[in-house]
């Protein structure tokens, strides 16, 4: 399973990189960051790029910056950067919790956040995080930068708003207010496997009631998304097992799950409901 031949480019600056993408935009040109998804695809010759633009040597792409309101994750930041909380607030703990479920450690030392977002696999944990928290992505090409909201980033199965001559420069994740509770539940066949269904929830409790609930589901449909119906069923209510169940139940009518040889839509729907309920329990255990 050797990859088909390609021309390899290792630009040292962002400008060089975008120029290369522009120059080769009419051929099959791919960006190589972590390579943990791209290289297997190339080994199977499912991907046969004519040009590979390796961005790992571009210094300014390796920064992870904690700003006042956002965490700014640039294109070459690896999953492993988040295994110990990268900031002291709830976001740092949430990302540490989620990242543990991504494949295995030796993959996480290479795979990148932005690579996952550009790949847009429905099972990608980062895609779910981006959509649930309301992140902002920045694409960059020869013509300049563009800001794209997380909810507008995913267009379809493994398809994003990124143009062929652009690369994903960074994603800005909003830092979470102190007191934000979160829960993450993923169902996979084995440790480290692709998520068949996963749920990420965040909310705060004010005066004993849930506020600002974010409920995202991934792995179930072609793209991850927030489920407003579930959030509405939570906001303003006191946390309880019944409230969680009812909220999770409301998800089933909202979902249009994928079907494949192994999992039918019905199973994924049930699974999504279970993951939501369990994520809620993880965020704030209630009887």
């Amino acid at each position: 399973m050797k990859a088909a031949a390609f021309e390899y480019h290792a630009p040292r600056t962002l400008t060089e990189a975008t120029e290369l993408l522009a120059r080769y935009r009419d051929t099959d040109v791919r960006v190589l960051a972590g390579g943990q998804s791209l290289l297997p695809a190339m080994a199977f010759r499912l991907a046969t790029p004519a040009h590979l633009v390796d961005i790992n040597e571009i210094r300014e792409l390796s920064t992870l910056t904690v700003e006042r309101t956002h965490l700014v994750v640039r294109a070459c930041v690896r999953h492993s950067a988040f295994e110990r909380p990268c900031e002291t607030g709830p976001l740092g703990r949430l990302l540490a919790r989620v990242v543990r479920e991504i494949a295995h450690y030796p993959i996480r030392t290479r795979g990148t956040v932005c690579g996952s977002l550009a790949n847009a696999d429905p099972s990608s944990e980062w895609c779910l995080v981006t959509v649930t928290l309301g992140a902002e992505l920045t694409a960059i090409g020869n013509r300049g930068r563009r800001a794209i909201q997380g909810s507008d980033w995913f267009k379809g199965l493994m398809t994003t708003a990124l143009e062929p001559d652009e690369l994903l420069l960074e994603v800005r994740l909003p830092r979470l207010p102190e007191g934000t509770l979160f829960g993450f539940q993923e169902f996979a066949r084995r440790a480290g496997d692709f998520a068949v269904a996963m749920a990420l929830v965040t909310f705060r409790i004010e005066s004993g009631a849930i506020v600002d609930a974010h409920v995202g589901v991934g792995g179930v449909e072609a793209v991850p998304r927030r489920l407003e119906l579930v959030e509405k069923a939570l906001n303003g209510r006191r946390p309880s097992a019944n409230v969680y169940s009812a909220a999770a139940d409301s998800a089933t009518s909202a979902l249009d799950p994928l079907t494949d040889a192994q999992y039918d839509a019905g199973y994924r729907r049930d699974l999504a409901r279970t993951m939501i309920r369990r994520a809620l329990q993880e965020a704030s255990p209630a009887t």
């Binding site: 031949a5 199977f44 084995r190 692709f194 192994q262």
Partner: protein, 754 residues
């Protein structure tokens, strides 16, 4: 002080831990070409044309062959058998008029590098007129043979029955999937003119003979060499088209040929197994004693008869009754072809399936008659007093005689050692607090020591060490250590001073390889015989030189000692200077030996997702006599892990067009450390085999045999009888569906409610 029974460190490990393993991918000859197979992308079709012109035009491509280039090469044979009807269905080395499974070799490319060979292979174009694929053994119209075994008066049994229990049971398609994929390196030795194939495994002599016959060569002109092998599990080392092509390439192109399979090819084209559907019916009396058992099954052999012929179906039919008396029995095995990858043996072949069927039947009987599942098994066990127990059928064309066994005692020992009663109490407590948790038991008989014969030779080398040459094969199981222990004990030397040679057709004239858990029994006893005779020769030399009667001589740690005055007379090194001593040993056996055991599984079930988690696992195994208990445990632990894979994770799935869907390791799921629970192993030596001087039985397949059955039973227990598992692997989707069905009261296929 005997070293038999000691947990000695392996002699094999040194090179392997420092990265000096001689796996075939690590071998090379100057000037070698790389071989790449072009495989069918259709499950079934007429092969109209193969166009290699674009590939041949590529730089670095030396040759591209199709079936027209190898017309004189016959299809691959199978082992001699009394079963008739298999011949027309042998696999051609390259497909000629039809393609019959996705992955079937159609053409082969020889090029300067593995990368360019793969590039060129992509350019080979095939024209195939698709034909509808046959994907279910039961509906297949191609039935090369029917395996039939019966004894007793079954009709009478059913007339007298208090109850009749019927089940339909399925096991999915699975395989060994060793971490090293297949490979071979062939060359025509420029000095000797011998065709050498490196990377051999499992049955070097038999494969050598087959290659010689197929290529019309004198067997003396073909030699196979085994280096290090990255796991076999039955699937590596059976002759494949690629082995023949590698050798033929070396001969015709005059350059060494290196072939290394990639993982995708391995999952498409390496032998698969297990794919069976059974309809079993038991006639029982009111106490749950089985009066008669009938099983009809459909064995999915895939596209061709492979080198095992119909052996897997044979073993299924023969071993199904297990350790139970079963006074009347009939098994009818339909051996059928489909358009899937050809099938053969995978660890505990026929028995993983048979134990699942027999033990599910036991559980169903227990459930119907409301008898404790352990008790109902006890009532059916063959008692120790009746050993050896001749079941009036044949297995692998030998008489099935259970040589020794105290099944009831092993069951008791297991219960006691593992504290089953307290595990059961713990389970009940946890259940009371809401956990979905259960225990399952499965009993099994294994077969080992397949004969008919084995040969070994032992020689005393100049430095006082002993070299033992065998026809065995190392697949990683520790054969060098075990044989060394046996011989060290027989002669009187440190086991580290015994070097065992294996996998070399040029070093020993006869060899039968390593498979069917035969090596410790057959090669072990042959080596033992050779060692005893070498010892006698050594003592004769000492007697002659020092005028001491051999009765008062002993060899201890390489020194020959006078036992009357406890004085060292001389050393092996000195004796070697006097005379080059060697001795041959042989061991013959017309029957196999039958170790046996019990598995107990503790599982928890997540009702909402259908996921099953194995919490603890116990194996009690009577091996007769354990040469190295550490290695026996290792075999059992590894076997249980594969069994868990077979019970819960592993399956080769095909779509309606016959396209394989399990073509990556992300689809064919094998357990990681996270999926394997703590496993407790009890090795018992109550029932040595009377069939060999060492009393030993084999260990290789004990761990995997009953895992499917035990886990199915535990899942049923966890779910309080809401479901009855009838299919492996038990996937979350499948289990969830069964739970939903049972909740809504949908009818089930199995007549448990009668």
């Amino acid at each position: 002080m005997t070293v038999i029974g000691k947990r000695l460190q392996r002699l094999e490990d040194g090179p392997l831990v420092v990265g000096q393993g001689q796996y075939v991918a690590n071998l090379s000859f100057a000037g070698e070409l790389h071989m790449r197979v072009v495989r069918s992308a259709h499950a079934h079709g007429e092969l109209r044309r193969v166009d290699a012109s674009a590939a041949l035009a590529m730089q670095g491509v030396a040759a591209v062959w199709t079936s027209t280039d190898i017309q004189d090469v016959p299809p691959i044979e199978f082992r001699p058998t009394r079963v008739q009807g298999l011949e027309p269905y042998r696999q051609p080395v390259l497909a000629s008029k039809h393609v019959r499974y996705v992955g079937e070799p159609v053409a082969v490319v020889f090029a300067e590098s593995s990368r360019s060979a793969e590039d060129a292979a992509e350019l080979v174009a095939m024209e195939v007129s698709p034909l509808p694929p046959s994907l279910d053994a039961e509906t297949s119209e191609v039935e090369p043979a029917v395996i039939r075994k019966e004894y007793g008066d079954l009709e009478h049994a059913f007339e007298c029955a208090h109850s009749v229990v019927s089940l339909e049971l399925c096991i999915g398609r699975q395989s060994g999937v060793p971490l090293e994929s297949r490979g071979g390196l062939a060359r025509l030795n420029p000095d000797s003119g011998i065709v050498e194939l490196y990377g051999a495994a499992k049955r070097p002599h038999a494969n050598r003979d087959m290659i010689a016959r197929m290529l019309n060569l004198d067997p003396a002109r073909v030699q196979l060499f085994e280096g290090h092998v990255g796991g076999g599990f039955g699937v590596r080392g059976e002759l494949y088209p690629e082995d023949v092509l590698t050798c033929l390439g070396a001969i015709r192109l005059g350059r060494p040929i290196k072939w290394i399979e990639d993982r995708r090819e391995n999952l498409l084209a390496c032998n698969q197994s297990r794919d069976q559907r059974h309809r079993v019916t038991a006639a029982v009396d009111k106490n749950g004693f089985i009066l008669g058992l009938q099983d009809e099954f459909f064995h999915d052999q895939g596209a061709y008869v492979r080198t095992h012929g119909a052996r897997v179906a044979d073993m299924t039919a023969a071993m199904l009754p297990g350790m139970y008396r079963i006074p009347a029995y009939r098994a009818i095995g339909h051996y059928r072809l489909t358009n899937k990858t050809p099938a053969a043996t995978y660890r505990a072949p026929g028995r993983f399936e048979a134990t699942f069927v027999m033990e599910r039947t036991m559980d169903a009987i227990a459930k119907r008659l409301k008898i404790d599942p352990t008790e109902v098994r006890r009532r059916n066990l063959i008692p120790k007093e009746e050993m050896p127990f001749a079941r009036p059928i044949q297995v692998l064309e030998t008489d099935l005689v259970l040589d020794s066994g105290d099944y009831a005692a092993l069951l008791e020992k297991a219960r006691h050692t593992f504290g089953w009663d307290s595990v059961r109490r713990d389970v009940e407590m946890r259940r009371a607090s809401g956990e979905c948790i259960g225990m399952g038991l499965a009993l099994f008989v294994e077969k080992s020591g397949l004969g008919p014969t084995d040969l070994a030779s032992a020689q005393l080398l100049e430095d006082g060490t002993v070299e033992v040459v065998t026809g065995a094969s190392s697949l990683g199981q520790g054969v060098e250590t075990v044989i060394a222990q046996i011989c060290a004990d027989a002669i009187g030397v440190d086991y580290k001073r015994v070097r065992v040679v294996h996998g070399r057709t040029d070093r020993i004239r006869k060899g039968f390889g390593s498979h069917a858990s035969r090596t410790t029994v057959m090669t072990g006893n042959a080596s033992h015989h050779a060692a005893i005779r070498l010892r006698a020769r050594i003592l004769e030399v000492v007697e002659g030189k020092y005028d001491l009667p051999t009765e008062i001589l002993e060899i201890r740690d390489g020194e020959i000692v006078r036992t009357d005055v406890n004085v060292t007379v001389t050393t092996l090194t000195e004796v070697a200077k006097i005379s080059r001593l060697n001795a041959e040993g042989e061991f013959n056996s017309a029957q196999m030996t039958y170790p046996y055991g019990a598995h107990l599984a503790l599982v928890s079930v997540d009702r909402e997702t259908g996921a099953v988690n194995v919490l603890r696992y116990f194996v009690a195994y009577d091996i007769g006599r354990a040469i190295n208990p550490m290695l026996v445990e290792g075999q059992i632990l590894g076997g249980v892990a594969q069994g868990i894979g077979g019970a819960l994770y592993e399956e080769f799935i095909y779509d309606e067009a016959g396209q394989p869907l399990s073509v990556t390791l992300a689809d064919y799921l094998m357990p990681t450390a996270r999926e394997i629970p703590p496993i407790q192993v009890l090795i018992s030596e109550d029932s040595p085999s009377p069939l060999n001087p060492l009393g030993i039985k084999g260990a290789g397949e004990a761990g995997i045999n009953a895992v499917g059955a035990a886990i199915a039973s535990a899942i049923d227990d966890a779910l309080g009888g809401e479901v009855f598992i009838t299919r492996l692997p038990v996937t979350p989707v499948q289990l969830k569906k069964e739970l939903d069905c049972s909740r809504t009261g949908s009818p089930q296929a199995n007549s448990l409610a009668q």
